[in-house]
Symmetry: C2
Subunit: 572 residues, 2 copies
């Protein structure tokens, strides 16, 4: 970006088999100094589709975004489901590396087609919501285009600015949200990367088509069979918010800034309530849609207003929880509006909701006051000093407001699962290379959902469980599949075989499942080395102090995983 | 504070010889969990007068305040010059340990006299400036009382809240400012500790009176002789702000948020200008006064308004610099008002000025706009959301405003000496256990002032120099003397002997100068162990990245001290 130049480079031999998180983290480790300021000239943003992304592999439209995070100060990989990554893959691009920094304060967009790249001024698209901008961009660049970009939060360089991608219907709604990578893109003056794969083949090259097809069928069968992932199954009917009632029942739904584990208004903001509410307002059953082409699970919902018009997509579990139970708000219309504003301004919903709850704890607004919460979201959108503070995330807001109860690890707010009840996810939060992140090692599967066997959530010996999930996730995030295939492949052995065969088929290798999981393990180990060089130690692999002494109702438990157990996770 | 109870305890044998920083840091290391939240129930605030504080030793009215810092997350020792510590010592109290946390949001004051302790409600003194409160307190508790307390910044739990003490004339102007210890006191609901030593002997017990008197005379002679410390010498005439012209000449006066090393308005805010301005407004020479009883150096000035009435005390070098050169403000009336507001609201001036400069860098106000800067200080005083942000210090403000150029180490803004020009002070900033802190190892003495020999400031091999200064400072901060005795004792050998003999005399020991410096070294080593357990590594012993690549005019130098050299400081 220093001199507004885009160049193509051949893929170095070293990177031949790498893609997705494996590649983004490798490039960050190779090229970004661990002590670089996240918003300075030496940080980079790396985009890379997964190994099978752009093929016909089911549910594989993921794009990994890597760099050093301005929210956490750690390495960051945050992936999203969108056709954008598939288009990048179709264009034969293994990764886009954004580096350098322009002198002035102008914003630019990069247009990428089969004919090459072009920088265009983007200032006309700044200082407005993404719901207004995206249609303008589709109008200018065509309906076949896919859009990646930042909202005003990224322009303001806010630590909670995400990177936004379009869903299949062109909505600005799919995010590489966590960790503030939108601010890094903003610091480089890059507002949008618009990709159009017109004229390219509909699939990436496949080295061993027979093996790939065999794997694809196995994985597809598993996804079509499993209760959670099958059509009209839990995710397709109720979306991820199906978890609201389940987590509430378990007493592990963080409520009012992690003061309680059960929310009396849970049923009103559950996935079932979304389904029922849409049915009432539309007069028919509405099943969910896929966020990217080729997804079988189709978990992305659309929430409608009382008059039946569209309000927002998507009322995701973690988003609804963040603004709902965690803020003492029991209205889907309110959570829907707050989520819509996150999309519009380009913010991560988990961090934004967590920040709001901390602001409530700090007395900036009362718990449950959705009207004031919406007003405060607009402050963020306007970039007022108050908005700048709230756009900085929960930890910074907590420090400014003198709040000692900030449920965060390594600068990132905890998602929608209470670690004092579900100990394994607490181990993941504490030890993940990403800060508190449920997707880094989703032990909720066995601890709550009984996927791949049932594990007691209250048992504190969870280092091995979390390590296994973190390693496998390193593989899945490299493959380009959505993490949700995990439900099916953990329970159905042939599904896991299929995943391995797909990847081997694309690359023309014959690696075992163990090889691939070891690659995943290698990814998190490499990420951890980056973090160590950036100044992180075992002392950062801890949940916040208050969770060690404050008993969480209704189970009245504390986080009792020993430090020795936590330190075992990366002892390999 | 949990149940509002003050108890006296005998001094454990272990602590027999300890005092000042040695004792506060020891108690923090023994009793505060390194990962405790600074504002949570497990942090403590420890006050301890130095070994000779409360005796007739010259310039020894220092009080050490220790705890875990909400600004830096490190251990913190921040000492102030005030009669308060002497009164505590006269009462036979070796340390006051404030611990626990009350349930409600009420504020209390603790009254300590020879007859015991008493808690009284203090809510009537909240939400108003300290210039209004202190006279009320003197009226109620008598002119013989000494006051320690927090302003509204501490009530709001702001990370930049200092702890304020009265000077000899009762002004709320002497601060344990750095590191936000005022917020820790605020988090414990303790607004004031009022101490009255009436009825007690005028000196602490001296074990070996003869040795003490001998030492006292040697040190006094040195202070009375040295050009910097003698009556009508540099400090007594011009105050610490005598450094403005000197640092500017050296090209190491950080200007406009550390963008340049020379300020065109330096002469207007210099110590000489303070002297001349007062002379013009008062019609006579005004020499400075002592901040605490028994100080020979007397460097504390009073700035006057055009009509000859008092404006503020004290226009300290670092304070004038912070709001002056660093904010592009060249008016002593403006810096005076900004400093007065810091005193009134209970803020550290260095961090407040550094924050203002970062806010200017971030576009919140233009560089040089003193009117707007004053308005923003009032936002802090009112505790508005914007004020909360600015009260959080430079690093947090920088993160909210997306500023990559924040001149801080371990969360604390750098003081008034540019590390790209004066490399030794840069080594101290980088490696000190306190975050960027000039007082932790004041290598300016040899590098700029030619005290204890002249060392070239541009030479990068400064690990040993900084280590020696940091160790000696550990001793001086333990003795209870003001750091400014260093000028005299470094140049005049008998002065150093005197310091050692004073301490030995009070304690009844016969330790060598080496023994004492080793004690100082042991203090910083112990502090460093605390920091390591709190999660700090060598990666935190670094100056901000921009100083490695941004050349500072007029010398156009970067900070070129190698990481290996920095790591040598604590390699002992």
């Amino acid at each position: 970006m220093t001199d507004l130049k885009a160049t193509y480079e051949d893929v170095p031999e070293k990177f031949k088999y790498m893609a997705g998180r494996w590649l983004t983290s490798q490039i960050v480790c190779d090229e970004v100094p661990p002590r670089a300021h996240p918003l300075g000239p030496n940080n980079k943003v790396i985009f890379s589709p997964g190994i099978v992304t752009g093929s016909s592999a089911p549910t594989s439209g993921r794009i990994s975004v890597g760099g050093k995070s301005p929210l956490t100060g750690t390495i960051k990989e945050t992936n999203a489901g969108t056709g954008w990554g598939q288009s990048v893959a179709h264009l034969g691009i293994k990764a886009i590396i954004v580096e350098g920094q322009p002198k002035g304060k102008k914003f630019w967009l990069l247009h990428v087609t089969k004919d090459g790249t072009k920088f265009l001024p983007a200032d006309e698209y700044t200082n407005m919501g993404l719901y207004e901008v995206y249609p303008k961009l589709f109008e200018k660049f065509g309906k076949k285009a896919d859009i990646c970009g930042i909202g005003v939060a990224g322009e303001f360089l806010m630590p909670n600015a995400g990177i936004c991608f379009n869903d299949i219907d062109g909505r600005p709604s799919r995010f590489s949200g966590r960790g503030g990578m939108g601010a890094v893109l903003g610091s480089k003056g890059l507002k949008f990367i618009i990709v159009d794969d017109s004229g390219m083949p509909p699939s990436i090259p496949i080295a061993n088509k027979e093996l790939f097809d065999q794997g694809r069928k196995k994985l597809t069968d598993a996804l079509m069979t499993h209760d959670i992932t099958k059509p009209t199954g839990a995710l397709n009917s109720y979306g991820t918010a199906v978890l609201i009632n389940i987590m509430n029942e378990a007493g592990g739904l963080p409520t009012r800034n992690f003061r309680e584990g059960r929310f009396e208004g849970a049923a009103k903001i559950s996935g079932e309530a979304i389904f029922a509410g849409n049915k009432e307002r539309l007069g028919k059953d509405l099943y969910n849609h896929n966020c990217s082409p080729g997804c079988i699970i189709k978990c992305s919902n659309v929430w409608h207003k009382p008059d039946g018009t569209e309000h927002v997509s998507c009322q995701e579990y973690e988003s609804v929880w963040a603004f709902g139970a965690n803020c003492d708000i029991d209205s889907l219309d309110a959570t829907g509006e707050l989520i819509r504003l996150c999309n519009d301004y380009g913010l991560d919903t988990i961090e934004a909701g967590g920040t709001m709850a901390v602001a409530m704890e700090g007395g900036l607004l009362p718990f449950g006051d959705s009207k004031k919460a919406i007003e405060l979201m607009h402050e963020i959108g306007k970039g007022t000093p108050l908005g700048r503070l709230l756009g900085s995330g929960a930890v910074i807001t907590g420090r400014a407001l003198g709040v000692a109860r900030v449920p965060a690890v390594k600068g990132q707010n905890m998602p929608a699962y209470e670690p004092r009840v579900v100990k394994g996810i607490g181990v993941t939060y504490a030890t993940s290379t990403m800060g508190a992140d449920h997707t880094a090692g989703y032990t909720i599967a066995p601890e709550i959902l009984g996927v791949s066997g049932k594990v007691d959530p209250f048992i504190a010996m969870k280092a091995e469980l979390s390590r296994n999930f973190q390693s496998s996730t390193g593989f899945i995030d490299t493959s380009g599949h959505c993490l949700f295939i995990a439900f099916a492949i953990l329970d159905i052995a042939s599904g896991f075989e299929g995943l391995v065969e797909e990847c081997n088929g694309v690359l023309g290798v014959n690696w075992s499942a163990d090889d691939w999981v070891n690659i995943g393990k290698g990814v998190i180990k490499m990420e951890r080395q980056f973090n160590e060089a950036a100044g992180f130690t075992k002392a950062h692999d801890r949940v916040p102090e208050f969770m060690l002494y404050e008993k969480l109702p209704p189970h009245n438990t504390v986080f009792d995983v020993s430090e020795a157990e936590l330190d075992k996770v990366y002892d390999f």
